[in-house]
Structures are given as structure tokens and as C-alpha cells.
């Protein structure tokens, strides 16, 4: 398919603006740039180009998207309408508080609800994404230890099953990373943890359910071990969709948590952003929060308050406000009971698929998974040559988005499946049937799978060439 720049015909125009009503101002020649080349297209060319691009994109609205760890749930359309209300979009961020009471109310209401869901005492909406939230959470931890003059605490403990952002965020916040292995049940190895915690431990970062989709049963003991050593415990909210209304990070002993509104609260993902990564914390950390928080004063007016020992700002204004509106609309509609049902059904749907395929694809047995589970194609690969990647690519031929591949790193030939609560039994049955069929085909006709996809926009792209001889613009 041609690039929009390749469809450009000099002189074609699309959007137009009001003719200039005053004298044209010209700049001194020394200020001026050389030639500018942007696409010049008519509106119909533009409309067809982007419609074609949209047909070459696959979203939750296109089909089943069981991408583990990403919570690709249905994105209610009311979210878009709410965020598009002119009373919200046409608001400048640098206004007097009296002019933006509606925006501040939205921020306040969302903050209160997210505090209730996570069991935290305070929360900021400023971080723009999950990784940004991780960074903020860790900066709070750094500021906390620094204020207590506990300067030895330079290490963040991260399980070997963690998301790559965890160690990367820890380094961004100035920490060293200590990896802790998983035990035979693929939870945190308590003995190994005890060995690594000490007076240099700033915090432990954890997601619960773990990246294997299992609830960490020993969570209370784990958080106590870290607290007893003087460290704090960080909750990566990537997997919150399993437990809303059932159990809260705050009650498990976590001190700080980041959420992913684009995952758990349906805002949607937008092809990779914009997201939003609010950070909640216990009272001991609230004075360090970034930017400003909204408070409700005695007169019933919303006011901004700057935390007394703030880590500083991480976004120019109040974070991705438009995304926050979508999350608020979602939570308002679901309410307390709907939120819990969402999590319960996410867990049911995952267990239902797991049950339907676990005789063919080895996974954690004997325990219920939470909202997702990880299968291994290690045995399949050894016996047929068909790898996790080949199963994934073959799912494309069956009209489904592949699961997350090769994560977590501790499982060989891993595929991580997260169906979410909004998928119907019919869709899940179809997914089960496809995965069973592919398993059979792997033994009968492995080449077919190894050369998949056969019915896609493109076939396997040459990623090595892309990296060796980068072509990064048209």
C-alpha cells in the first residue's frame, strides 16, 4: 500500500480555514526555513487512505484479542462520547479553578473511586501510562527513604517473571535492580526473598496475580518480610482486572500501586496510546505525589493542592485528562457490583479456555488461574518443530489476534492468553476449537503452521533487515 506522501499531488487541498482578515505578517528572511514537503491530497483521497489503513488494523471491535497482560476488553462507546464533549475538550489547562470546576470534579470522582478499588489513601492521575506510573511510584519510594535519611536503600527487588518495564523504571528512578527467582510453583521464592532483603532494600515490585496468572497465596507473608526489613512494596496494576471488588492491593500490604486505565478501565488502547497510569499510595507516601491533587473544600468547591514534599511534575498539566474521563464513565456505569462482576467473569472466561485446552498445551494445573494463564509450546516444538510463534501466527489465519508470545521469560515457548470478561461463550468455544485444531495440524502438517500466516495483510516480515538497515521514514 502506498504512503500518503506517495499519493501527494502538488496543489491539491483538503481542509481550509477562514481567510486572513488582517495584514499578512512576514518574517525576516534569516528566520525562514527551506522548502517544506507535506502530503498534498484531496479530502476524498485522505478519507480513502485512512479508511484503508483502518481496514489493515485489528482492534477489539474487529475480533477476539486474547493478548495476555494487555486486558483487551470491549471499549464502550459512551467513553468516546464523554471524552469528546465540547465542555471538556475546549478547556484550556491554565485556567482559574473557578473556571474548571467540572474538570476538577471529574478528577476528584475518579480519584475517589480508584482509591476505593485499590485500598489506597491518596492518588495522582498525572502519569500518562503504566510505565510512567511505575516511574512515579518508584520516585515516591525514593523520596520517602530520602526524607527519612535512609540513604542505604538503593535496591529494588524484582521477580524474574516481571514485566520489562519494572527493572527499567527502577533504573530511571535511580535504583539498582536485584532479581529474585520464582519457586517451583512459580510464585515468589520466599527463602530467596529472605536472603536478598536487607537494610539496602528500597522496595519489592510485584504484580498479583503474577505474570503467570496465578494469585500469590503468600502475599501477606511477602509484604511483611519486606516491611520488616524496612522496605516498601510496590504493586504493578497490570493484572488488576482479575481482582477488582474481590481483594485490594492495599489490604494485601502494598504501599503504592499504579493502574493502567487503558487496560482495566476500558479507555481504550488506541494502537499503543494514549494511556493513563494513575498512582495510588498509602498515607506515608502522599506528601510526595507529583503535580497537584484535587480536594473538595468545605464550601463544596474543588481546589488544587500541592503535596508538601512533591517529587515534582512528570507531565506538563494534569496527565491524560481525556483518558481519565473515559475511565470515570466506565466506572460510573458499572458501579460496585458491575466492577466485581467484570473481574469474576474475566477469571471465569480464562479458566474456561484453560480447561478446554490444558490437555494439549501444558500449563499450571491443579489451581485456578486468574484472568489469564500461560501455556507452553515447548513439548510441541520438540515433537513437531512448531513453535509458540507458529501457533500465534496461525491464529491470525483463523481471524483471531494472537496471545502474548514469549512472555513471561521464565516459561519456554510461552503463550499468554487473556480473554477478558466481555467475550462470549461462543467466542471462547471458537478459540478453544482453533487451538485444538492447530495442535492437531502441528503433528499432521507442521509446515503449514511454520509458514503461517497465509491469509494476512503481509507474510512474515524481515525484521533483521529492518534493524540492520533501518528505513525509518518515507
Amino acid at each position: 500500500m502506498k504512503l500518503i506522501t506517495e499519493k501527494s499531488i502538488a496543489g491539491q487541498r483538503c481542509a481550509t480555514i477562514r481567510p486572513l482578515e488582517v495584514k499578512t505578517e512576514t518574517l525576516e528572511k534569516s528566520f525562514l526555513r527551506s522548502e517544506l514537503k507535506l502530503p498534498e491530497v484531496s479530502e476524498v483521497t485522505l478519507a480513502r487512505h485512512y479508511t484503508e489503513l483502518s481496514r489493515r488494523a485489528f482492534g477489539v471491535d474487529t475480533g477476539f484479542y486474547p493478548l495476555g497482560s494487555c486486558t483487551m476488553k470491549y471499549n464502550p462507546k459512551i467513553n468516546e462520547e464523554v471524552a469528546g464533549l465540547e465542555g471538556f475538550t475546549h478547556v484550556h489547562p491554565l485556567c482559574e479553578e473557578e473556571d474548571v470546576q467540572g474538570c476538577m470534579q471529574a478528577m476528584y470522582e475518579l480519584t475517589e473511586r480508584l482509591k476505593a478499588i485499590t485500598g489506597m489513601d491518596a492518588l495522582t492521575l498525572e502519569p500518562a501510562a503504566g510505565a510512567h506510573g511505575e516511574y512515579v511510584g518508584l520516585m515516591l519510594i525514593a523520596a520517602y527513604h530520602k526524607k527519612r535519611k535512609d540513604s542505604k536503600r538503593t535496591k529494588i527487588i524484582v521477580p524474574d517473571s516481571a514485566h520489562g518495564t519494572n527493572p527499567a523504571s527502577a533504573v530511571m528512578a535511580g535504583f539498582e535492580v536485584v532479581n529474585v527467582p520464582s519457586d517451583e510453583n512459580q510464585g515468589v521464592d520466599i527463602e530467596a526473598l529472605k536472603k536478598v532483603v536487607g537494610d539496602d532494600t528500597a522496595a519489592l515490585m510485584l504484580t498479583n496475580p503474577t505474570t503467570l496468572g496465578l494469585f500469590e497465596k503468600n502475599i501477606k507473608e511477602i509484604t511483611e518480610i519486606v516491611h520488616n526489613a524496612g522496605g516498601l512494596v510496590y504493586y504493578d496494576g497490570a493484572n488488576l482486572n482479575a481482582i477488582m471488588g474481590v481483594v485490594r492491593p492495599g489490604d494485601m500490604g502494598f504501599d503504592v500501586v499504579h493502574l493502567n486505565l487503558h487496560k482495566t478501565f476500558s479507555t481504550p488502547h488506541g494502537g499503543g496510546g494514549p494511556g493513563s497510569g494513575p498512582v495510588g499510595c498509602k498515607a506515608i507516601l502522599k506528601d510526595f505525589l507529583p503535580g497537584v491533587v484535587v480536594e473538595l473544600d468545605k464550601k463544596g468547591e474543588y481546589v488544587f493542592a500541592k503535596p508538601s514534599h512533591t517529587i515534582g511534575k512528570v507531565m506538563p498539566f494534569f496527565g491524560n485528562f481525556g483518558v481519565c474521563l473515559k475511565a470515570l464513565a466506565y466506572i460510573k456505569t458499572l458501579g460496585a457490583e458491575g466492577i466485581k462482576e467484570a473481574s469474576q467473569n474475566a477469571v471465569l472466561n480464562a479458566n474456561y479456555i484453560k480447561k478446554g485446552i490444558e490437555d494439549l498445551y501444558p500449563t499450571q494445573t491443579g489451581r485456578f488461574c486468574m484472568h489469564e494463564f500461560v501455556i507452553s509450546c515447548d513439548k510441541l516444538k520438540a515433537e513437531t518443530g512448531v513453535a509458540a510463534m507458529d501457533i500465534a501466527k496461525s491464529m491470525i489465519d483463523n481471524g483471531m489476534h494472537p496471545p502474548t508470545m514469549y512472555f513471561p521469560l521464565i516459561v519456554h515457548e510461552a503463550l499468554m492468553i487473556e480473554p477478558t470478561e466481555t467475550e462470549s461463550k461462543e467466542t471462547l468455544d471458537e478459540a478453544i476449537a482453533v487451538l485444538r485444531k492447530l495442535h492437531k495440524e502441528a503433528y499432521e502438517n507442521p509446515e503449514q503452521l511454520k509458514s503461517a500466516p497465509h491469509h494476512a495483510q503481509i507474510f512474515r516480515p524481515d525484521e533483521v533487515m529492518a534493524a540492520r538497515k533501518p528505513v525509518l521514514k518515507g
Binding site: 483487551m72 471538556f88 475546549h90 484550556h92 510512567h132 496527565g319 458501579g335 460496585a336 458491575g338 466485581k340
Partner: protein, 435 residues
């Protein structure tokens, strides 16, 4: 009240029995009973209709300013209908990061086109797929320049204070320091800058136009930065690049900024769109996603996420940045906006902003206001008035006009875009005259 679930009670029962349990609660057997939440303390669910009503009521509580004469990092521009409608196609909105190239060519190509247009505007060799905001782009750009003993950032005090705050947060744990030098008549003081740069200087960070709207002597700033081996980072309002010298032409190593003016509404400050572009030499230090062109096994044109060896999911603690998601949908909007405007259209928008601002400055002067600085400006400028800024803004509010940002008791930072009419400006001049 709405939960977006799809299964009926009997289907749920069927599924529970297939899994081997009789209730949803049994699936949570691994969670210790004493940890379980008794009651989630949030309101009951509303119908969609009620939710929309409540949210509309909230939106209506905000003051409805019909005319915005304020910028300072957030800009009110006209958004063509074609951009609004096409960008809201749900295939774009509901897709994830394009990990699976075979079913994400549309998203990948839209980012590739965005990168192409950012390179055209900035003149730089490479662009990433975008970051959270212009401020975080600036901060990430600054972190790219740390090298050995080169740990100092030099900025003039005429940069956007919010950008500077974000930079300060980002470097606070990374062994870098920032030195702020005083500006002269609103512009970067080249003598002070020359005196400040040293072997320790990792970079000089400049905004174009600067916070007060003045066009900076960027080429000279770049030369001074390079004189001691430091890098030169320019944060440009990309709308002004329709006319102004590109960062490349000014000698910048890294160009950053916020592309919100390209089709994104102000939305109380977000989501915005941080762009980052750099010279070829810096590409492996550039954080975030990058889309590249390649071919598939049949030789067809294909787009993929590339140079991933820089990134957190491969490098973990050795990664240069923790960035995972970008602002993909905002980048799509910006690419669409630039295509809708085209070369001539974008120049026309920029020229309109420039011309209206200069008309406004003249009219405000005639009405008794003074310009605080004498340097050439683009579409923002600072006035000093006898009347209090707050008093002027109060009067403008009654007319549905959001006036300039109050920098001091009598100082206002104004911004003019194509959304403002001559009549609006004349009305404001009249109010200044009578204030």
C-alpha cells in the same frame, strides 16, 4: 448497571460446571479469606443514559470560553472534520501496540507516516513513534545527552516552566544537574551562555519560540553548545516550523516538542503528543517505539516495530528508557491533520497565527499596553498594562474570552491562533483601553 458482559446466567452456569466449580467465588480459592474485600465502597452502577447526563452536567460546569487567547503550552486550533471523523474509526481506537505486524499494518503505516512528517517538519533524520508529551520528550531528550563527565544541562530562564519542572524531576535521580541562566530582553543571553558552557555541559536546551513567544537566536545557541562538545536540543512548537528554520538548519542534535497543535483538542491538558527526532548518530539512543520499513518473505512492503534492542522488554534494567506505550492514536491524528492541511494549508495556518498576533500586538499598543520585550515574536507575546491583568481577564470573561495568562500582576502572555477573529481582537483592545 451496564457491565458489558455477554453471557446469560445459564451460560455462566454451564461454563462454571465445565471448569468444575459451582460458583464464581470458588475460582478465588487461592485468595486467603481474611484478605477478601467485604464491600466495595463505590456507588451503584448507572444506566448509560444517566452516566452521560452526569458527565454532561460536569462538562457544563466549566466556564464556556468561546474564544481562547491563551497558549503557554496548550493551543486552540481549528480541527478539520475529516480528522475528527476518520480518527475515531474503532479499528484505530481499539487496537493494541502493533506487536503482530501481520495484522497491524494500518497502525504501523500510520506511525511510519507520522515519523516521515515529523522528519519533514524538523529536518531531522529520524523520529520515534511519539512519547507522552512535549515535556517528557524534552526530559527524555536531555537524558539522551548524558555522557561520562558531561552531566550538566544549561537552559535559559525563558523556557516553559512546566517543561523545566518535568526535566528537573526526570534528572533528579540520574546524576545530572541543570543550570538556569538569566535571559536578556526575553531572549537567551548569548554572552551568559558562552560563559556557562564547559566540558561538563551535556546539552543546551532551548525552546523555539521561547515561553514569551520570542524567536530565539537558535543557530548561535547551537554553536555555543557545540563549542565545548555538548549537544543542542531544540523544543519547537511544530506549528511554527511551517515557516521557521528547522532544528536541523539551526544545528540541533535532538528536536523535541508537543504536536498537540496538530489536530488535538486542549482537553484540559491531555492527551497531548510528544515528538522526538534526532540526527542519525543518535538513533540508537532514541527512546520509545520506532517503526521501520522492510519487506515480507514475498518481497511485499511491510512495516514493523524496529530497533527493539534499545527497549525495556528486551534490555530490562539496561534499557535507556522505560517507555512502553507511546501516544499512537495522537500520532495518527497529527499525521491526519498534516495531510489534511498539506504544505500550503499548514503555512496558511502558521501565517494566520503570526499575522493575527502581530495585529493584536499593534492594537493592544494603541490601546495603551506595552510589549514587555522588543524581540521578534511568532504568535505569543507578553504585554504590560497599567490595569491589573486579573481585572482585564475578568472583563474578558464576561465576553466569553479567555485572555492572556497572568505572568505577573500587570503582565500577560497572549497567544493568537486562526480560531480568533479580527473582531475578537478589536473587542479585547477596546477592553484594555477602558480598563
Amino acid at each position: 448497571m451496564a457491565n458489558y458482559l455477554t453471557n446469560t446466567d445459564s451460560q455462566v452456569k454451564e461454563m462454571l460446571s465445565a471448569v468444575g466449580v459451582s460458583s464464581l467465588d470458588e475460582l478465588y480459592a487461592d485468595i486467603p479469606a481474611d484478605l477478601k474485600l467485604k464491600k466495595l465502597e463505590i456507588e451503584k452502577g448507572l444506566s448509560q443514559q444517566e452516566t452521560l447526563d452526569e458527565m454532561k452536567a460536569m462538562a457544563n460546569k466549566n466556564t464556556d470560553y468561546k474564544v481562547i487567547m491563551r497558549g503557554a503550552g496548550a493551543y486552540d486550533h481549528y480541527i478539520p472534520s475529516v480528522v475528527k471523523y476518520l480518527s475515531s474509526r474503532s479499528e484505530f481506537l481499539t487496537a493494541y501496540t502493533p506487536y503482530q505486524a501481520e495484522m497491524s499494518q494500518g497502525i504501523l503505516q500510520s506511525i511510519f507516516e507520522y515519523q516521515t512528517m515529523i522528519c519533514a517538519l524538523t529536518g531531522m533524520d529520524v523520529s520515534n513513534a511519539s512519547v507522552y508529551s512535549g515535556a517528557t520528550a524534552a526530559a527524555e531528550g536531555v537524558l539522551m545527552t548524558k555522557a561520562g563527565a558531561k552531566t550538566e544541562i544549561i537552559v535559559s530562564d525563558n523556557v516553559n516552566p512546566r517543561n523545566l519542572e518535568v526535566i528537573k524531576t526526570y534528572i533528579s535521580q540520574r546524576g545530572m544537574t541543570v543550570t538556569v541562566i538569566p535571559s536578556k530582553n526575553g531572549e537567551t543571553d548569548l554572552n551568559a551562555l558562552t560563559a556557562a558552557v564547559s566540558e561538563k555541559t551535556a546539552c543546551v536546551y532551548t525552546e523555539q519560540p521561547n515561553y514569551y513567544g520570542i524567536i530565539e537566536p537558535a543557530t548561535y545557541i547551537g554553536e555555543i553548545a557545540h563549542s565545548k562538545g555538548g549537544k543542542f536540543i531544540m523544543n519547537c512548537n511544530p506549528m511554527t516550523l511551517a515557516l521557521l528554520k528547522t532544528p536541523k538548519e539551526c544545528g540541533a542534535d535532538i528536536a523535541v516538542g508537543d504536536a498537540q497543535p496538530f489536530g488535538l483538542s486542549m482537553s484540559f491538558g491531555g492527551p497531548f503528543l510528544g515528538y522526538m527526532a534526532a540526527n542519525d548518530k543518535e538513533v540508537r539512543k532514541l527512546p520509545g517505539r520506532i517503526v521501520g520499513e522492510t519487506v515480507d518473505k514475498e518481497g511485499n512492503r511491510a512495516f514493523v516495530l524496529t530497533l527493539q534492542a534499545r527497549e525495556q522488554h528486551i534490555r530490562r534494567e539496561k534499557a535507556l528508557s522505560n517507555i512502553c506505550s507511546n501516544q499512537a492514536h495522537c500520532a495518527l491524528v497529527a499525521g491526519m491533520y498534516l495531510s489534511a492541511m498539506g504544505t500550503e494549508g499548514l503555512k496558511e495556518v502558521a501565517t494566520t497565527c503570526l499575522s493575527l498576533a502581530h495585529y493584536a500586538a499593534e492594537e493592544f499598543k494603541k490601546a495603551g499596553a506595552e510589549l514587555k520585550y522588543s524581540g521578534d515574536f511568532f504568535h505569543e507575546f507578553v504585554t504590560v498594562t497599567k490595569a491589573k491583568a486579573s481585572k482585564i481577564n475578568e472583563k474578558l470573561k464576561k465576553e466569553g474570552i479567555l485572555g492572556g495568562l497572568e505572568l505577573d500582576k500587570n503582565e500577560m502572555l497572549w497567544c493568537f491562533t486562526e480560531t480568533v477573529t479580527k473582531a475578537d481582537i478589536d473587542k479585547v483592545a477596546d477592553i484594555i483601553r477602558r480598563a
